[in-house]
């Protein structure tokens, strides 16, 4: 559970404000498809400097939700790109995309539960 989303951490981050939570989830959903697409493009182009930036931005976004799996994948991608080691970026991207999808699903469950952690 904590791998996708740290509920306690997230609820503390919004000070228990469900409206603010809903709002940032909406912002997240508006944002991440574009960011993932950008990461994918920079992976496909093997553009290491641009990949550092795009992975870094996505890492910052998912960090707000305490999404450990997504954060770890984004950090690994950023680190690989920074080191110029692009051999495994396709795999890492796949991990990242899957983790972000799981985060989205976990957020849906959290909003549906309407309760605490």
């Amino acid at each position: 559970m904590d791998e996708e989303l740290n509920r306690a951490d997230l609820l503390d981050r919004v000070e228990g404000d469900r409206d603010l939570l809903k709002e940032i989830v909406e912002v997240f959903r508006d944002t991440y498809p574009g960011l993932l697409a950008e990461v994918k493009q920079t992976v496909d182009r093997r553009d290491a400097p641009a990949l550092v930036r795009s992975a870094h931005t996505l890492k910052g976004v998912v960090a707000n939700f305490g999404a450990r799996a997504a954060h770890t994948a984004a950090l690994r991608l950023e680190t690989q790109a920074r080191a110029g080691d692009l051999a495994q970026v396709e795999e890492t991207y796949a991990d990242l995309a899957a983790a972000v999808q799981r985060l989205d699903a976990a957020l849906t469950r959290l909003l549906a539960d309407g309760g605490g952690p």
Partner: protein, 397 residues
């Protein structure tokens, strides 16, 4: 407080804005460094929270621009960074950041860091206000010191002018009386009444009047010349019509200041001995230099008891004009010596001295590239030595 927030990640931006607003701040949010810079230039922000990595203009560049902006008031900048490596902190600090908060941010940490920044901005603001008030008060006091010396000059001049005016007035009254008697005798002669004329001549003591007439005229003219000289001297002393630097004869300036102080010197029974060596012309602000000489001479005269001696010497030494004013008065106590040139320091009773004479003099001489030295011994007297370069440009600027 108005806060400018620069963060390209929309989720973090929304969260940060929500919290900052909960803490009572008025938040303007920018999605990248370029937008933040445009908002900063157009707005009035003293607290900036900025992300590090942003497209177009990144955090360090945004801070460099803010620091280079010639705007009054201090801007406190907090950087948000996922990094915590030491060299990044150094780079951020060198760009001009005040503080760092790591991402994902801890709410309480951000709150107290923002509060610390707010306090610094407020302190800086009140300090700037106090500085402004102090500058205004000091300017007013320097002006009042100028008025105080002007008052003393005016008293001296009034006294000096009153004396000749009094006897010119008196001489004119005598002349009118004696001329009337003379005209009466003349009228009697014209009518052919020689006896009456002789009687009137006798009665008006016209022989005496005639004998003294040239002397009376001379003395009257001399009195008027004296008034004219005093007024000329005053004009030279005040240099009312000159704001610019010009070449001046410091010996003449000292003579002029002594002339204006004459009645105070006489009233106190002080003897003034001058020993002037030839000096080259000095490029200076003559009105201000006169103010300095006047201050030093007044101090010397005041330090003396009745029958005291004030020696005023000039010489040219090592490319500078040297002016010494020495008195054999009470001297300066050792504990007062270090405070002599301090503004508002005075040993006179409250209301009698502004405590600005020497401090203003010191500033004037410093502006001319010169300096003032003091030697003093309690009970034996004090010497002030002023050294002024022939041109301030050769020393400063």
């Amino acid at each position: 407080m108005k806060v400018l927030l620069a963060e390209d990640d929309p989720v973090s931006r929304r969260l940060l804005q929500a919290h900052l607003e909960r803490w009572g701040h008025e938040v303007t949010a920018a999605a990248d460094g370029g937008e933040a810079w445009r908002l900063f230039e157009a707005g009035n922000f003293f607290l900036v929270v900025t992300d590090w990595m942003m497209p177009e203009i990144d955090g360090p560049e945004l801070i460099r621009r803010i620091r280079a902006c010639p705007r009054p008031g201090y801007v406190y900048v907090i950087m948000l960074t996922a990094r915590s490596r030491k060299e990044d902190v150094v780079q951020g600090m060198e760009a001009g950041a005040n503080d760092f908060v790591t991402k994902p941010f801890d709410r309480e940490e951000l709150r107290v860091r923002i509060r610390a920044g707010e306090r610094i901005v407020q302190l800086e603001h009140s300090l700037a206000q106090q500085n402004q008030a102090l500058r205004e008060a000091q300017a007013a006091l320097v002006q009042s010191e100028k008025l105080a010396s002007l008052g003393r000059v005016a008293a001296g001049v009034a006294h000096e002018i009153n004396n000749p005016i009094a006897y010119v007035t008196n001489n004119l009254a005598v002349l009118r009386r004696d001329m009337q008697a003379t005209f009466a005798a003349l009228d009697a002669y014209r009518k052919g009444n020689a006896d009456e004329a002789a009687r009137l001549e006798e009665e008006g003591d016209i022989a005496y009047f005639q004998e003294n007439f040239p002397r009376t005229c001379d003395k009257t003219l001399e009195g008027l010349r004296r008034v004219r000289d005093i007024v000329n001297n005053l004009r030279d002393f005040a240099h009312l019509d000159e704001a610019e630097f010009k070449e001046a004869d410091l010996n003449a300036a000292l003579e002029s200041a002594l002339e204006i102080l004459q009645h105070e010197v006489k009233a106190k029974g002080v003897h003034v001995a001058t020993q002037f060596e030839p000096l080259p012309a000095v490029l200076c602000h003559p009105g201000k230099i006169n103010q300095v000489f006047f201050n030093l001479l007044v101090n010397a005269v005041q330090a003396c008891g009745a029958g005291g001696i004030v020696a005023v010497r000039t010489r040219f030494e090592a490319g500078k004009a040297v002016v010494e004013v020495q008195d054999n008065g009470c001297g300066i106590k050792p504990e007062h010596r270090s405070r002599l040139f301090e503004p508002f320091f005075t040993t006179k009773p409250i209301g009698q001295g502004t405590g600005l004479g020497l401090s203003v003099s010191y500033g004037i001489i410093r502006d001319h590239g010169g300096n003032i030295e003091v030697e003093s011994e309690v009970g034996r007297g004090t010497t002030f030595r002023v050294r002024i370069p022939l041109s301030p440009d050769k020393v400063t600027r």
